[in-house]
């Protein structure tokens, strides 16, 4: 099932790049999704809840494992830190207490990186979790903002914009209260700029959540 939306406008801000999503495209994982945001493309497969290694077992909740595979080479320290962020974001939204002593494994494969990779990974993960049918207390989405030298905000920057930017901020936002689940910054910015970026991301999050809704709606209305 594929959903596509051509253009998003979020108020007076420049639009997000084109989003494309396909759920359930892999047959072996319990949930899978392919997420394309502009030219950035990631593929996610989710296994779980399933058996867990005794050493990793947690008696009152599910054990999360996130594997981020780069396009080329082996995952390094950079990937580990991103994995940890995605893992902790998932732990906060998925109701892991409903599946104690079990494991939920999320495998993210980067297909193309053309900017805003972390937010694309977050979005793909969320769509994958929805496809896997895991109980969650809210959905989440990732939004990347780039601040240029003049302090202008570009939402969902491409690779070139990211490189030229003075600061790049990535947030994960939950769908229930539009609060910040995760935050990661590169470069330095002032407090006001941070707050502006948060506000812009929250507005952009609305369009992404609308996309999630439309996509789910289309998927289930066919049946």
């Amino acid at each position: 099932m594929e959903t596509e939306q051509k253009r998003f406008d979020s108020g007076d801000l420049p639009a997000l790049r084109r989003i494309l999503c396909e759920q359930g495209l892999l047959s072996r994982p319990d949930g899978s999704a392919s997420w394309i945001q502009g030219d950035t493309s990631v593929l996610v497969g989710i296994y779980g809840p399933t058996e867990v290694k005794v050493s990793k077992e947690i008696y009152d909740k599910a054990t999360f494992e996130v594997l981020l595979k780069p396009k080329i080479g082996l995952p390094g320290v950079y990937e580990r830190s991103r994995e940890q962020m995605i893992k902790k974001t998932c732990e906060a939204v998925v109701l892991g207490t409903l599946h104690p002593r079990s494991s939920i494994t999320i495998v993210i494969q980067v297909v193309t990186d053309a900017g805003s990779l972390l937010s694309s990974c977050l979005n793909a993960t969320c769509m994958g979790l929805v496809d896997a049918g895991l109980p969650m207390n809210s959905l989440f989405c990732g939004v990347t903002c780039a601040l240029d030298a003049d302090g202008n905000i570009t939402l969902d920057p491409a690779m070139k914009q990211e490189k030229e930017a003075r600061a790049v901020l990535t947030f994960a936002i939950d769908s229930a209260e539009k609060k910040i689940l995760m935050s990661n910054t590169k470069g330095s910015c002032s407090v006001e700029e941070l707050q502006q970026c948060i506000a812009a991301s929250q507005r952009a999050a609305d369009t992404i959540f609308q996309f999630y809704r439309d996509s789910a709606h289309r998927k289930y209305s066919k049946w």
Binding site: V77, S81, A92, E177, I180, L181, M182, N184, L194, Q195
Partner: protein, 277 residues
């Protein structure tokens, strides 16, 4: 007392909540209170710069070793800074021996990000001869005792050690073309920014500063804010966990700015007393 100890083991969360209801913590601190910070610089004589930081029980030692290297091909006028955080089994039973675990790797990456973001030392300053020779600073941070808030301690130890670095003068012998080190003539590094970290945990919508290891385990989320002396943000690091509003984040930032002043005062005093000797 024995009953309280039992209660703590059986129902740690409830035990902790009882304290929070009274606006205090099991170790007697208030919610917004940092543990005593002690810094000792120049503790390792064989390193080019070193510092030992204690934040309550959490102990981190940082050693900086300068070596020669060929600058990268794509930017011939830059040196390197290589941070590495080590969490040995020695510091806590939660870590396993062997290759660095997930937490150590994430901490190393965080340090590398902050160094890059804040421009604490311009990499251009580390260049000796354009395209031929540059300094590489290996910054090793080893945790000796893990009692929570690793990032704050690492950041403080790193900054203190960096202030302690003395690089020897290097001249190029024109006949042989080799570098000659003059160990008698040493100069400190130019430090452009002074990043200081402040960490918080989220507990039932409450913000608690400088968590211990026990508190970190009970918490539903952590936030680390790194600010420089101008109050600019070098990092807003929140790796998942429970949600935070913009207003709460603002609260964290203003506390981080206050913390920056405290740490800066401490470091300045230390450097001054060191110089006086």
């Amino acid at each position: 007392m024995a009953a309280a100890g039992g209660f703590r083991t059986v129902e740690p969360l409830e035990y902790y909540r009882r304290f929070l209801k009274e606006n205090c913590r099991p170790d007697g601190r208030e919610l917004g209170e940092f543990r005593t910070t002690t810094v000792n610089v120049g503790s390792i004589t064989t390193a080019d710069g070193s510092a030992l930081v204690k934040l309550g029980n959490t102990t981190v030692i940082c050693g900086i070793k300068a070596e020669f290297a060929v600058p990268p091909v794509d930017s011939s006028n830059k040196g390197y800074i290589v941070p590495n955080v080590d969490l040995p089994l020695l510091c806590s039973s939660r870590f396993r021996p062997g290759p660095p675990g997930e937490e150590a790797q994430a901490a190393s990456q965080f340090m590398a990000d902050v160094i890059e973001n804040s421009q604490v030392v311009m990499k251009e300053d580390l260049c000796i001869v354009d395209g031929k020779l540059a300094w590489v600073l290996y910054c090793d941070m080893i945790c000796l005792d893990y009692d929570g808030n690793l990032l704050d301690a690492c950041m403080c130890a790193f900054l203190a050690a960096l202030k302690n670095v003395q690089l020897p003068a290097v001249s190029i012998n024109e006949e042989t073309g080799l570098a000659e080190v003059n160990l008698k003539e040493k100069t400190p590094l130019t430090i452009r920014k002074e990043p200081v970290a402040a960490s918080f945990i989220l507990f039932d919508s409450l913000l608690i500063v400088d968590p211990t290891a026990e508190e970190e385990d009970l918490a539903t989320g952590t936030v680390t804010i790194v600010t420089d002396e101008e109050g600019k943000l070098c990092a807003v690091h929140k790796p998942g966990g429970s949600t935070l509003t913009g207003a709460k984040l603002q609260d964290c930032i203003s506390r981080a700015v206050t913390r920056h002043k405290e740490v800066k005062k401490l470091l300045d005093k230390l450097i001054k007393s060191k110089k006086a000797k």
